[in-house]
Amino acid sequence: MTKSQIVWLVIVVVGVINYAARLSFIAFFARREMPPLLAEALKHVPAAMLTSIVVPAVVFAAPGHIDFGLANPKFIAAVVAGVVAWHWRNTLLTIGVGMAVLWLVQYLVG
């Protein structure tokens, strides 16, 4: 397969997967009771998946190299932004503060 064919296959297949997941309980299983274990597992899905997306993007100063100090402004920015997000629950504010801290630490350490 060429790159272009893979890209279009991904668009169609993942598009169908995403819509099916969104429709799942709203349409397909609307009249069914959810199995208790599935309900318990699903409850934790957002926290688990979002953590495993966010953490690698902020703890590595370089590939394979973990840094929680000034050499990794992304981690410092993420901690401050995380507190802001926890307290105010506002996406725009979180992004604004996170980017500002990132740029500030980079400028100071620079």
């Binding site: 890209v7 598009g15 429709l23 709203i26 688990a48 953590t51 495993s52 997306i53 920015a77 997000a85």
Partner: protein, 217 residues
Amino acid sequence: MLPAVVGMFPFGIVCGVAAISAGASPLAALAMSLIMFSGAAQIIAAQLLAAGAPFAVIALSCFVVSLRFLMYSAALAPYLRPLDHRWRNLLAFLLTDQAFAASIHRFRASGDLRASASYFLGGGAVLWIMWQLATLAGILLGSVIPPAWQLEFVVPLCFLSLLAPLLRDQPTLIVMIAAAVGVVALDAMPMRLSMICAGLLGILAGIVADRVGVRRD
């Protein structure tokens, strides 16, 4: 929903930029936003495409990331049941992290289903349109944004704004710790499979934490 809509804009730009730099054509890059309509799936697909991952790995990763829609769908389903199926099918298409986070409290608190559904529909439609415009901006302007701005950092910040407010009880804290430790420990796995494994590990830890917590009470 306004802070979510404005906050999504830079994320959409990054998705456009990422798709182009992964080798997608401008049309395909826009089609990702039109059809997939999920920032998380689009970013992961773009990163894996850029890394030359096979189709099966990309589809599996996007599938695991899309599992959170199952949870949102299940949480919204009881409120949407009285609606006509055509409306439900349309609302489902517009279901995103942001639309869910902004409207679930309204569905729970308000007895007026039509008003809550209209809020969801209106907000979701604005999010969808803005997402397309943002992606288009990324496709057209991607090459002129200075790399020093580190615009791609808005992606983890966007997810952080959804993640941090979830931290209200002990089992959720345990889920986050397990997923965080897992994703770092498994970082050497190829093609970001660490993300899938750490996510599943976090879910498992949450189920165990719930059980232990119940027994203790």
